[in-house]
Symmetry: C2
Subunit: 292 residues, 2 copies
């Protein structure tokens, strides 16, 4: 089968039509440095696994300030010493923390945060998606985040897309503290506005998504021996400067992002025959990369 590929590519590349059809990734690669925004080191949470894998999260203080302040305090207070990944539910989430621990919280943690499932839309500069969203009257991007919103009711929420990180909680009115976090394997938009989304995985997601699935209800591991040990969860801002990983995202108000979005909705490069003419919020995937 592979041998068929060569002549086809040759025909496309050296044939009559000289202009190459650009992919969304071509736009990302060609975007100027000015289109990128550095993620503050205080918003970068680095989780190292005993296996050697690393999972890096970006926190979203503009959307869940009290929960994010909690997460920073939990990291700085070494709350997660001994933490594990104890739940991996296929097509749903990986969840980590101390699980049923009675450990007390370090100083600075708000034990009962407000819900923070939504925030006011006012004050946010939205790049609209431009296509219908079944979960909210509006959808788009705010400072690199996928967001759903209702202009009339003045709310906005971070969407549950692949890699989104939320706060495990019990039944309402409990909102969770941030001590138990989960990352999403596939869009779970029905959770939007029902739980606090506090960030997203920006690197190492496969260290969660390829873990063995738990066999108990909701994907909890049956035996503690299956728990995946976490060696540390630290803010990048607390790491030695030389070790500190740094990331940047494509400014969702940049011209590059506008073109990227258009191409995500209208794939026309070599592989694609029929552009969709639309895209859903979670399938846009705001580009995030490690800083050189």
């Amino acid at each position: 089968m592979r041998s068929l590929l060569l002549p086809a590519i040759a025909a496309l590349l050296i044939g009559a039509a000289p202009a190459k059809l650009l992919t969304p990734n071509d736009i990302v690669t060609a975007s100027p440095a000015s289109a990128w925004r550095t993620i503050p080191a205080d918003d970068v949470l680095v989780m190292d696994l005993k296996s050697g894998g690393r999972v890096v999260l970006q926190l979203a203080p503009a959307f869940a300030p009290v929960h994010v302040a909690n997460i920073r305090a939990l990291a700085r207070g070494n709350y997660w010493d001994g933490a594990t990944i104890y739940r991996v539910q296929d097509a749903y989430v990986a969840q980590w923390g101390l699980n049923d621990s009675d450990k007390g919280f370090p100083a600075g943690v708000t034990a009962k945060p407000p819900a923070e499932y939504t925030r006011a839309l006012k004050g946010l500069a939205v790049k609209p998606l431009g296509y219908a969203d079944p979960y909210a009257p509006g959808a788009g991007f705010v400072d690199g985040w996928p967001v759903a919103y209702n202009a009339k009711a003045n709310w906005a929420n971070l969407a549950h897309c692949y890699g989104s990180v939320g706060v495990g909680r019990d039944l309402s009115p409990d909102t969770g503290t941030g001590g138990e976090l989960y990352a999403v394997f596939t869009p779970l938009r029905h959770l939007d506005r029902n739980i606090a989304v506090v960030g997203r995985v920006i690197d190492g997601m496969a260290n969660l998504s390829a873990l063995p699935r738990g066999t108990e209800a909701l994907g909890f591991y049956k035996d503690k021996a299956q728990y995946v040990p976490i060696t540390s969860i630290r803010l990048a801002s607390d790491m030695p400067a030389a070790d500190r990983p740094a990331y940047e995202y494509l400014d969702t108000r940049s011209a590059s992002f506008a073109t990227y979005l258009k191409l995500r909705a209208n794939r026309h490069d070599d592989f694609y025959i029929r552009p969709a003419g639309g895209v859903d919020l979670c399938n846009v995937q705001v580009p995030v990369r490690k800083k050189a």
Copy 2:
């Protein structure tokens, strides 16, 4: 909000005084036997891995008849002897087959099938989703399958949702034979109408989704030693009756499915505070279960 919802659901489901707010799964559990449709054994493809894991697919002859006929002929002709899973791309697909093999096809295989990326909408009985779809003018369900469609242009296509199985191909006009198949880890709707979808995984998806990710471009495994061996790929109809697994799906034209769909769009059980009032095609997940 909860108190507002209660009377509405009461009127909808039970009558004056419901004891409990029902979940979508409650509807599935309570649905009568008459709401279920057995999947023909000729549409069930059983893939056994050397690891002991089993992945079961349902084929979709109504949407990709030539490719499905090929897959049946490939299975019956033992084409996949020595096949492996050789590509696992995070947030994308697992792909299997013989990869770069020059092995000839068994009798009955059409070497260059038609595209079968869409079929005529006419002749299909659609249960509409009832919410906007960014990828097509219409979306809904046909005989248990998630489908996007355009009534005016008279086309319909199987949607790339979690577990959907498509036919690996090179660049157009190649459409693939069915010898190389992939299963989708997360909705990839931009592939709709650009590739032949031939079925879906109905059991054992975690035996694909939890595999180690390949580190080469597009998630190909770097070393052949990483390939995941497949011991057999058989049609259930070719298995001894005693070993043959049987499955059924919830009839998407049944009253039970209509209620299930409504509840997927309006989660109101204990965990949920704010029902979305909408749901996307791939997040409905038509119930499929093993027959007792």
